[in-house]
Symmetry: C2
Subunit: 206 residues, 2 copies
DNA sequence: AGTCCGGTACTGGACAGTCCAGTTCACGTG
DNA sequence: CACGTGAACTGGACTGTCCAGTACCGGACT
């Protein structure tokens, strides 16, 4: 079974995945019917069932597919420059990119979707957290440890520091976004969260 | 309509509320049927509908009823002692109580329930956040401002400091709990989160 | 002509909300 | 202390709707 071929079948499969993703994201798991998905993909329901044995499998595939996208974020963190002169500036830029990534409406809705169905699909929530979040945090911890080795930061528990870094940045906007529909943050707001968070982080860990 | 009377009707109403709460908390909104609730309350379905016009109203009432419980937390924060000698100790105790309150399994499940249905019941999510979370944060900000006035903390934006305080403490455990079923944290883990978070906070804000 | 594939109609089950016929309970009256 | 009365409650049947998953048919391509 090829995942990105160009045959008719592969194209239909792709169309179904895209339709299902957008449907699940905007209406939730139980709010989306297989008929909706088929209609949106311009495909018969039969074809949907030919590619995915049931609704749960389709849902799981969509959620897990999104964990690839954290690779970019991991690279970003891994390539963080260790330059004493521009540390605050560099950290702020990194923070800003964190915030942009995690307050992206699509990511927020995905997050809500996973949380909402964590009871029904326990392994999905765990996978998402481990493959997505913990991977970034581990990389960030390694980066901090490296910076500490150069004497740029004073850190004894790198992973804890990484948690604190993200907590300072993300708690407010992400938390709020979970309870409200999906507030679009302005650039200025995100800049403010980034600079304030980094300032507090450096005050604590430099 | 008395809310806590002892008449037959009031007792039934109470039974329905309790049954519905536990059903919704363990099975979610759409996973709970009105028949389930009636059965669990040992009451006829008709009686349920006599007290609550429909499922949405019943759900809303349950969620909003829980916002009262933050009063205790608000009091706790408002009565925070301004003593220079024991500041770290006092803050750690407060942090520990925050953590205990927010990692209580019931609170976590409630939180998931609200987030999961924030699309369907937008005003519920907003209310919960504002009546619950923001109230505590505002009180905490006022307390910090007071401490800053006494020279115990160095704070220019009290509300931001309150956000940072809670972010340092809660981001890890709450975030994780959203994605996993409901991990029971040990006392030792919570102590660790509290002391580490407070240490970082004081390093940044003292 | 045979084989595959997509569309449509169907099945079985769940569930919100209604209706009704009969029962229990609280309570004031004789 | 009986008795009657009205309100609240019960059990269950019923309607209309929605939906996951399946069966079947007719047309296209080979």
């Amino acid at each position: 079974m090829e995942t990105s071929g160009h045959g008719r079948s592969a194209l239909k499969r792709q169309a179904i995945l895209e339709a299902a993703t957008s449907a699940f994201l905007s209406s939730g798991y139980s709010g989306t019917s297989m008929d909706d998905i088929a209609r949106l993909a311009a495909v018969s329901k039969q074809t949907v069932y030919k590619h995915f044995s049931d609704k749960e499998k389709l849902f799981a595939e969509i959620i897990l597919a999104t964990t690839d996208r954290v690779d970019g974020m991991v690279d970003l963190v891994a390539r963080f420059p260790a330059d004493a002169d521009t540390l605050e500036e560099d950290l702020t830029r990194l923070a800003r990119q964190f915030l942009a990534a995690l307050t992206h409406p699509r990511v927020l809705r995905l997050r809500r979707l996973v949380i909402a169905n964590a009871d029904t699909f326990p392994e999905l929530g765990a996978d998402w957290y481990e493959q997505g979040f913990e991977r970034v945090l581990a990389t960030l911890a390694a980066t901090f440890e490296h910076l500490a080795g150069r004497g740029l930061l004073r850190i004894d528990q790198p992973l804890l520091a990484a948690h604190h870094f993200s907590g300072l940045l993300l708690w407010i906007p992400v938390n709020k976004a979970m309870f409200y529909g999906s507030p679009q943050y302005t650039e200025a707001e995100l800049d403010h969260y980034a600079t304030a968070g980094v300032r507090a982080f450096l005050a604590a860990y430099r």
